[in-house]
C-alpha cells in the first residue's frame, strides 16, 4: 500500500515546524515589517473620514512623471545648443554574453561593466533604437539588464500620432507586457509605442487586444519588435550624465 504514514507523531511535528519556518521565511522575504506598515496605512485610510482632496491618483503621477521627462529632454536640447555635446559621447557599445531566451532566463548579461563606465539604471537599447531595458546588476567587467517585459516591471510608454497618450505598462514575463485601458482609447493591433523616458526609442508594438463588449476596460498586450534572445550587440545609453 502506497499511502502509509510512518511515525505519525514525528511526521506532524516535522510538518508543523516546516510550515512555521516557511511562513517566517515568507514574512522576511516579502519584507514583512514594511507590509505591516503599508497594511496599517491602508486600514487607516479605509476608516478615515477626512477629505480625499490630497489623494493623488496614479494617472496624475504618470502625467507628472512624463512632464518631468519632457522638461529634462528640453534641458538636454538646450545644453546641446549651448555647446555641451557631452551626451553624444555617452553611448557604450556592448555585446550580449548571455540572453538565455525567455525559457531559461528573462534577463540579459552584457560584456561591459563598471570598468567600462556602465552604471546602474543605464538604458540598454538596440542599434536600431529599440528600447530593451535597464541595467540592474553591475560587476567590474559585466552587467545584467532586465527587459521592460520582466514580470511585474513597470514602464512608462507613449503612443498616438503625437506621442500624446501616456500610460504605464506592466511586464508579464516571456517578452510581453500588458496594460488595462478604457475601451474608448483609439489603440489598434500593430500600433507602435515609444519609451516614456526617451521618446526616440521604440518600446513595442500592440500584439493583441482583449476587449469584451460587456466591459469598459480592455487589456492591451505589447511585444517588442525584436525578440531579445536573437540580439548579439546593444548600445548602453547613460542615464546620468
Amino acid at each position: 500500500m502506497v499511502f502509509i504514514i510512518h511515525q505519525n507523531r514525528r511526521f506532524f511535528v516535522w510538518l508543523r515546524w516546516t510550515f512555521l519556518l516557511f511562513f517566517v521565511l515568507i514574512f522576511f522575504i516579502l519584507d514583512g515589517p514594511s507590509l505591516i506598515v503599508r497594511g496599517s496605512i491602508m486600514i487607516s485610510k479605509t476608516f478615515s473620514f477626512s477629505n480625499t482632496e490630497n489623494t493623488v491618483s496614479s494617472a496624475k503621477i504618470v502625467a507628472l512623471q512624463a512632464k518631468i521627462i519632457d522638461l529634462e529632454i528640453e534641458q538636454e536640447r538646450l545644453k546641446a545648443l549651448l555647446g555641451n555635446t557631452e551626451r553624444f559621447n555617452k553611448i557604450i557599445p556592448a555585446n550580449i554574453s548571455f540572453s538565455g531566451g525567455y525559457l531559461f532566463s528573462d534577463s540579459i548579461v552584457i560584456d561591459r561593466g563598471e570598468m567600462n563606465g556602465v552604471a546602474i539604471n543605464d538604458y540598454v537599447v538596440t542599434q536600431d533604437g529599440i528600447f530593451i531595458g535597464s541595467i540592474t546588476r553591475l560587476e567590474a567587467y559585466w552587467s545584467r539588464a532586465i527587459p521592460f517585459t520582466q514580470l511585474g516591471h513597470k514602464t512608462i510608454v507613449r503612443g498616438g500620432q503625437n506621442k500624446e497618450i501616456i500610460f504605464e505598462v506592466s511586464g508579464i514575463g516571456g517578452g510581453e507586457a500588458a496594460v488595462d485601458l478604457p475601451v474608448g482609447m483609439n489603440i489598434k493591433t500593430g500600433d507602435i509605442f515609444w519609451s516614456g523616458e526617451h521618446p526616440n526609442f521604440i518600446i513595442g508594438i500592440v500584439d493583441s487586444i482583449d476587449a469584451s463588449p460587456a466591459k469598459q476596460i480592455q487589456t492591451v498586450y505589447f511585444r517588442p519588435p525584436i525578440a531579445f534572445k536573437f540580439l548579439i550587440s546593444v548600445n548602453i545609453h547613460k542615464k546620468n550624465i
Partner: protein, 102 residues
C-alpha cells in the same frame, strides 16, 4: 527522519538560481525550491516518485500564484509559465537524484 541531503540540495539549488537568474521578487526562486525540497522530505508516501511529483506540483502552483500577484492582476505569459516549469522540473530532478544516491 529528516532527510537533510535533499533539503540542503534544495537550498543550494535555490541560492544558485536566485543569484544567476534575475528574480522578479526577492526569494522568488529560493523559497519555491526550498518548498519543493521540504515537501519532498515531509510527504509520507512510500513511493518516492509520487512524493517528488506532488512536491513539483505544489512548487509550480506556488510560483504561479506568486507570479500572478506580481503581474499586477494580469495573467503571466505562456513563455513565463514554461520558464517556471523548466526551473522547478530541473530542481526536482536534482533533489530526487541527490536523495536517492547512496
Amino acid at each position: 527522519m529528516i532527510r537533510w541531503r535533499s533539503i540542503i540540495t534544495g537550498i543550494l539549488c535555490g541560492i544558485v538560481f536566485e543569484s544567476i537568474l534575475s528574480a522578479p521578487s526577492q526569494g522568488f526562486y529560493l523559497v519555491s525550491i526550498i518548498l519543493v525540497s521540504m515537501l519532498y522530505t515531509a510527504l509520507p508516501l512510500t513511493k518516492k516518485f509520487l512524493n517528488i511529483g506532488i512536491a513539483w506540483l505544489c512548487g509550480v502552483s506556488f510560483m504561479s500564484i506568486w507570479a500572478l500577484l506580481l503581474a499586477d492582476g494580469h495573467i503571466f505569459s505562456f513563455n513565463y509559465f514554461v520558464h517556471l516549469i523548466i526551473i522547478i522540473t530541473f530542481c526536482s530532478i536534482i533533489i530526487y537524484v541527490a536523495d536517492s544516491k547512496k
